[in-house]
């Protein structure tokens, strides 16, 4: 196998002990960087979610429906079934 592919299992593509040792010194700092960088989109997502959940759509006007019309609509709905 050419190149650094030799550092992985040819079938499972699992890292060999040698590659684990190569990466070990960088593991904690890389993980920390991953958490820091990953927290940016997650934070944006979470903020958006929380912000939108507060919205009750009270500012959207709902047109008034009279009792007669409501009864008619209910009947139509029942007939459809």
């Amino acid at each position: 196998m050419p190149g650094h592919a030799r550092y992985r299992d040819p079938k499972t593509f699992e890292m060999s002990p040698a590659l684990v040792r190569v990466r070990a010194p960088y593991f904690w700092r890389n993980t920390l960087a991953f958490i820091v960088v990953g927290s940016i989109p997650l934070g944006v997502y979470a903020y958006t979610w929380l912000f939108l959940n507060k919205d009750e759509f009270s500012d959207i006007p709902i047109p008034p429906v009279s009792d007669e019309e409501l009864a008619k609509l209910k009947k139509e709905y029942a007939n459809k079934k």
């Binding site: 499972t12 593509f13 699992e14 890292m15 002990p17 684990v20 040792r21 070990a24 010194p25």
Partner: protein
Amino acid sequence: MVVSRVTRLRSVRIESRRNASFFKKLLFLDDSDSKDANTKFYKWDESPYDDIRTRAAFIRTKALCPVTKKPVNFVCPYSGIPTHHSKEAWEQDEEYHSKKRYELLKKVNLYEHDLRSGRQFDEFVFPGEQEHDFTINMSTWDTFFYTRDFNPMNTEFNLAAASKVLTYPITMASVMTHFSPYNLQPHGPITLEGLRSLSALRYTLYPPYKQTRDTSAVLFKERPLRIFILGAKMEAMLPGYVWKQFGYLFPDSKFEIHFIGPECYFNPDTRSFTPTSEPHGRPHVKRYDEQLTLHYHTKYFHEVYDMGDLFPFDPYLDIFFLFHPGFQTANKIHWDQSLKGLLESKCAVFVTGYHEEDTRRELLYLQNHPLADEIDILMNQSKNLFGSTKLDLVDSNPTETFQANNEMFAFRGKRYHAIKK
């Protein structure tokens, strides 16, 4: 379509297992690898290899028990090596048990058997030229092997076998490269004087304005860089392709490696260390290739120095390496005379030792020497990151283990600019 989904599912499963295993391994939750190293354990007396049995017999005749000071006659059951006079002495040796010396000795035992096991030694398949786009990371053996694209050193036995050979060229490269893992004080062992010496060498190795292709800009490099290895013995037996691994790290420079010492030339015909047969004290020269030549001077350094063939020395183009010189051993008289030349050359001298104590002894010799005032320390004593990881044993004192090039320091003759009064 079904097939593709199955393979996709399988690959997803493999991938998740792989990532999990990486995290597990690095969080120390998975230590399955450490259990893999179970090669067969032999006692040295019962070893299937002749030379190991002979060595065990040699230890029995030469070594003295650390407790009773009587001849060694008891095989430590943990390590399989004869270490003490009797079982009682072995039990009484508290230092041996509290410091777990037997674990190191067991490793010595396993390494020796592994080297003779006749397994496939993939670690000795060395890579060729370094591709231009890939930088070499010299911070540890592992990163070096990975970035130089060696075969993976998966077990400690692979690493031991490879590092025992490569420790000499790579130790040299690790101090000379501009990506050296040794930093300036206080972040590392290099002193300010050391930086001056190393900067001079790096000026030669990585000449500025090289991109211009204007040959007049590199006038200062009219000869190859010379590396002197004093008191060479084992390192002088290494074949050219091992030294070429050093050459691959500096592809734009040419090198002469000078082995100096009475035992630096191994004659393959007589199978012994002999003086070379060159006339007029000339070195025996082996030309490995365009970049690298190996010179063997079978004399002491002060003799070669007094002959004057090596003059002039130039701190920009010369560097000395003393791999475990043993200043205070039987050769002390020769080292005393050689030191004068070493200091006069004003070139950097790097010294390695077998372990911390050994190296401190070498440093102490320099500090107590009459010429101590002439010495600048370039590098404080520190662990050599590219020492051999193969543990070895002192036959005359089998409870003491050592590793080649384990510790390192550097010195140089004082050289300051003239000050107008």
